[in-house]
Amino acid sequence: MIRYLTISFLVSLFFVSCSLKTTEGLRQVHFNETEVENPYFLNPEIDYVYKAKIAIYKKNFGGILIIKKIGPESHRVVFTTEFGSKLFDFQFEGDTFTKHFVVEDLDKKFIVNILKDDFKLLVDEKANILAVYESEKQRIYKTQREDRFNFYFIEDESEKLQKIVNTSKTKEIVAIDFTASEENIAETIAIKHNNIKLTIHLEKFKKE
């Protein structure tokens, strides 16, 4: 009896620690699609400009985030202070990353890597689908990049991308929430890290 309890305890522990929160309560379904798309930064004619608020541990700072599609599969991502001085200037082209500029205080490997991963996740246009899940109101597409997984949550009714969750095999690492009012324009974006106390909140500049 004790042995049975021990085994069942260990088994349940195993399942708890290994199951990913992201897909809890979802049912896996068959799928025909090959790729899932992030529609928010696809138009090369649009300057995507956001007011940014960053909270890191207990510090707050703000700035302006500018995203522009500058070629096929190529995006420029620039962050400036409110006064206009550049803090960083990155370029993503497929899997190639170019650091055009980083202000000295931020130019540390672990900071640049976090920023690089976050903004790559944000601007990546599409990814190959590994699995598809369904909830009551959403379809969830699982994709893979290197040793991480990304889950794209698309609402059934509006067909809008609502969320991207980046995970390891067992844990959620980063979640990006979108609200989109116009077609394919993300009005607000919230990037939230689970392993470090970092959130980036973005709000699209209003049209004049």
Binding site: K51, N60, G62, I64, R76, T80, F83, V103, F205
Partner: protein, 209 residues
Amino acid sequence: MRNYCLLLYFIFIGIALQAQETAMNASEIAAFKEKVIASAKTTKTIKTDFVQYKHLDFLSDDVKTSGNMVFKAPGLVKWEYTNPYQYSVVFKEDQLLINDGGTKSKVDIGNSKLFKKLNQLIVNSVKGNMFSDADFTVSFIKSSKYNKAVFIPKDKKIASYIASFELLFNKDDAQVYEVKMIEPSQDFTRIVFSNRTLNGPVNDSVFNN
């Protein structure tokens, strides 16, 4: 053919509209400096609106933000952006008091030499009186519409952020009406002032933020 004529017309108009710039000679520089310093000395307070244009080469349009600025001698400055978002910064002694749409924070700039320098630049450029600054090489340019002072930083660290700094002055009252900060990449930030009120009453509570 008609389009071609129009194009030529615009090219010529364009050239004609562009103010011819020439370097000032020694006596013009002396007279200009004197006028700016005299004007700065009598300036106790400034209230002005501004429009800021951030130019990045790869963008279709400059990123435009606007607001107002209040200055009170000797060194209190409040920059307030009101469009398209609310954000204000008060430069007060060795601190920056920031109010980012309701989220308040303080930044101590006492031990950051670079930040102090940038702060000093902002305060002095508002007044226009920064010719005696030993950290810059200054050159003076005139045109029919404005006088221009171009500042090039000597310090390598500052030069890695700002390639040059230009102030445009009204010819008549020697007040700064435009500030342009050019980055080493040639991207720039341009701030254009308008609706300026000089020496009106400004309560200290403006700078509480």
